[in-house]
């Protein structure tokens, strides 16, 4: 009797171990399936034309996503100009000043902002900028992506600054260095690797965003260098091409998807390498 219950318990134990292995395998299957299929469909179309030409009209062979790649760079650049200073600033406030109620409110709001669906961000920016300007623009798209970067960067900055030993700050303050200088030259500098990691994570997160750009940057089939005009973006172009009925466009969509994923994987990998070496200066 005792032996039987013993057996049963060990059987359940093995079953649970097996199920957890199964879960791990089940999660890896779609990941590997997506990556291998992306490479399989995309690699053949990654030619010189893809990076240098703009989309060809329907029925013509060839063409590329050069305008979308540049457009994405412009939109992400505008987004970073908005998101990085605001994010670092709020992170500094939270870590160095934000001990009270206001700090808690900002922390809480940052979490709320982080959870807002990206499509909602898109229509809010549409209402805020596009309706007023009466046209789509890279500015509007960049603004939408920029405010989406703020909470990630703010929380990363706060976390990293709190890891900086307060003895370092006290030493600087003890030398008579003002607080602003201590914060910039001692605290932020020590935490810089970790903060850059946070910025890259935020960047990787918004780089593939499509929904907030649908009604802000809108997309464009031609070259456009004016950030105040509708601008093409890589994820938008992939979406448009994927939904089209033309094989030729599907082919280019896969190539675009491969480029986008390579960029994002590179960013995530770089973040991991930096993080594993220690996020504080002098800690490794």
């Amino acid at each position: 009797m005792k032996n039987q219950s013993h057996m049963r318990r060990y059987l359940v134990d093995h079953l649970a171990t097996g199920l957890s292995w199964l879960a791990a395998v089940l999660v890896l299957v779609p990941l590997l399936a997506i990556f291998s299929y992306l490479v399989y469909r995309g690699i053949g179309s990654l030619d010189w034309a893809f990076f240098t030409q703009i989309p060809k009209p329907v029925g013509e062979h060839g063409g590329g996503m050069a305008n979308a790649i540049i457009g994405s760079a412009v939109i992400l650049g505008i987004g970073s100009l908005i998101g990085v200073p605001l994010g670092i600033g709020s992170g500094v406030y939270l870590a160095e000043y934000g001990r009270g109620r206001l700090g808690d409110a900002v922390r809480f709001t940052a979490d709320v902002l982080n959870g807002i669906p990206s499509i909602v961000m898109g229509i809010a920016v549409y209402a805020l900028i596009v309706i007023r300007q009466k046209h789509f623009s890279a500015f509007a798209g960049g603004f939408a992506l920029g405010i989406m970067m703020v909470p990630t960067i703010a929380r990363a900055t706060e976390e990293m600054l709190l890891m900086v030993p307060s003895a370092l700050r006290e030493a600087a303050l003890g030398l008579g260095i003002p607080k602003w200088r201590t914060t910039i030259s001692i605290a932020l500098r020590t935490a810089s690797a970790g903060i850059i990691t946070g910025i890259m994570l935020a960047f990787a997160r918004v780089a593939g965003e499509t929904a907030p750009l649908l009604f802000t940057a809108f997309g464009n089939s031609f070259w456009n260098m004016n950030p105040n005009q509708p601008t093409a973006a890589l994820p938008l172009q992939i979406y448009t091409y994927a939904n089209s009925p033309y094989d030729e466009w599907h082919r280019i969509a896969w190539a675009g998807a491969l480029v986008l994923v390579i960029l994002i994987v590179a960013a995530v990998t770089a973040v991991r390498v930096v993080a594993s070496r220690g996020v504080l200066k002098g800690s490794h």
């Binding site: 318990r9 060990y10 134990d13 649970a16 957890s20 292995w21 199964l22 879960a23 791990a24 999660v27 990941l31 399936a33 997506i34 992306l38 605001l86 994010g87 600033g89 709020s90 406030y93 939270l94 160095e96 000043y97 700090g103 900002v106 709001t109 709320v112 902002l113 982080n114 959870g115 807002i116 669906p117 499509i119 909602v120 229509i123 809010a124 209402a127 703020v150 900086v164 307060s166 303050l173 030398l175 008579g176 260095i177 003002p178 602003w180 200088r181 990787a204 593939g208 965003e209 499509t210 929904a211 979406y239 994927a242 599907h250 998807a257 986008l260 994923v261 994002i264 990998t269 991991r272």
Partner: protein, 344 residues
């Protein structure tokens, strides 16, 4: 404690303008580049003010989003009232709008996704924390992280060209043959529809559930495990009694957080769900979600009422995800709080 020093204490160490002239002017002279020649006081205020402004911008952004959404949807709110959420007519030509089919689609697809993702995510977390051979741990967590980093539009692209044919040719005929009697798996098999949308959503939210579950499992005090093992528990019994039971509220929090993500997920769902405003029992049938109707019809909305109705759906989505996220944060916090308190 890693908290920075209180500003009040700092002041007494920093010589201000009056003190400088009376006490050791030579010393101050020597290090004037560091002190900022007496302007430290001013510069500190400006710097602190700038940081405060940046922090306030976070509050301003959320407030701005809320007010913009409300103003833009006012027309529809006044026209339809609460009826907007309980009727299922969606007729842009007649100017009659009811959001029920979208709410239904969002709830059903998210619920089905969580049904698949929750056991998987918890299983993955247990695997990573307890079962995974040590050398595999880092590569495996890296791969799960990549799963979370893949953009939605690429999940959609892959879903359209790989998942949908698999669904149409293998999964749906199998489900129809064996479970058709339930009524959930019947009707024409298009491939696209509620089922593939839920499956792709499940894949997308697994990393959220597993990372939160890992975190709350780590927050459970080590003596809990040791006590269970000392009583002769097997590894699974130790996990069940010592860890999972203590972490269950936090795990719920992770699942609710994933729900928040699933409710607002747009691109992949739009590309796979079929986009037809219908309430159908069968999961083979096409559906529509709140996020995907906005993505699909926003640029077609020509008259103000149509646009306003779409923004109102966005406003509803915004409010629902906020509530869901607050709930999730509360649940997770109730577990990890004990951890931080002990750490001090």
């Amino acid at each position: 404690m890693s908290s920075p020093i209180q500003p009040v204490r700092i002041k007494s160490f920093v010589p201000d303008a009056e003190n400088q002239s009376s006490s050791g002017p030579e010393l101050v002279e020597k290090h004037s580049s560091l002190i900022g020649s007496g302007t430290g006081h001013w510069a500190d205020r400006i710097f602190g003010g700038a940081m405060l402004l940046a922090a306030l911008s976070v509050l301003a952004i959320v407030l701005l989003i809320l007010t913009q959404l409300y103003w833009q949807s006012e027309l529809s709110i006044h026209q339809f009232g609460w009826k907007f959420f309980t009727t299922s007519n969606w007729d842009p030509v007649a100017g009659d709008f009811g959001a029920l089919p979208f709410i239904y689609g969002t709830l059903v697809s998210s619920f089905l996704a969580l049904l698949m993702a929750a056991p998987l995510g918890i299983g993955v977390a247990i695997f990573m924390n307890e079962m995974c051979p040590r050398p595999l741990r880092t590569p495996f967590s890296y791969l799960v992280e990549l799963l979370a980093a893949i953009p939605s539009v690429i999940y959609g692209l892959w879903g359209m060209f790989v998942l949908v044919p698999i669904m149409r040719n293998y999964v749906q005929p199998f489900l129809a043959a064996h479970f058709g009697w339930t009524g959930f798996f019947s009707g024409p098999m298009y491939g696209i529809g509620m089922l593939p949308a839920s499956v792709i959503l499940a894949i997308m939210v697994v990393p959220f559930i597993s990372s939160i579950t890992r975190e709350v499992m780590l927050a459970v005090p080590q003596p809990q495990r040791e006590a269970a093992l000392a009583l002769g528990a097997t590894r699974w019994e130790m996990l069940r009694i010592g860890v999972l039971r203590n972490a269950r509220i936090g795990i719920m929090g992770g699942i609710v957080l994933a729900l928040g993500r699933a409710l607002g997920e747009t691109m992949a769902v739009t590309m796979l769900i079929g986009n037809r405003p219908e309430i159908a029992k069968s999961l083979f049938a096409p559906g529509y979600t709140m996020a995907s109707v906005i993505a699909n019809e926003f640029s077609e909305a020509t008259d103000n009422l149509y646009l306003s109705a779409l923004v109102e759906i966005g406003l509803a989505l915004f409010l629902v995800t906020i509530v869901v996220n607050i709930l999730a944060q509360g649940l997770i916090w109730s577990i990890t709080r004990g951890n931080t308190v002990r750490a001090n």
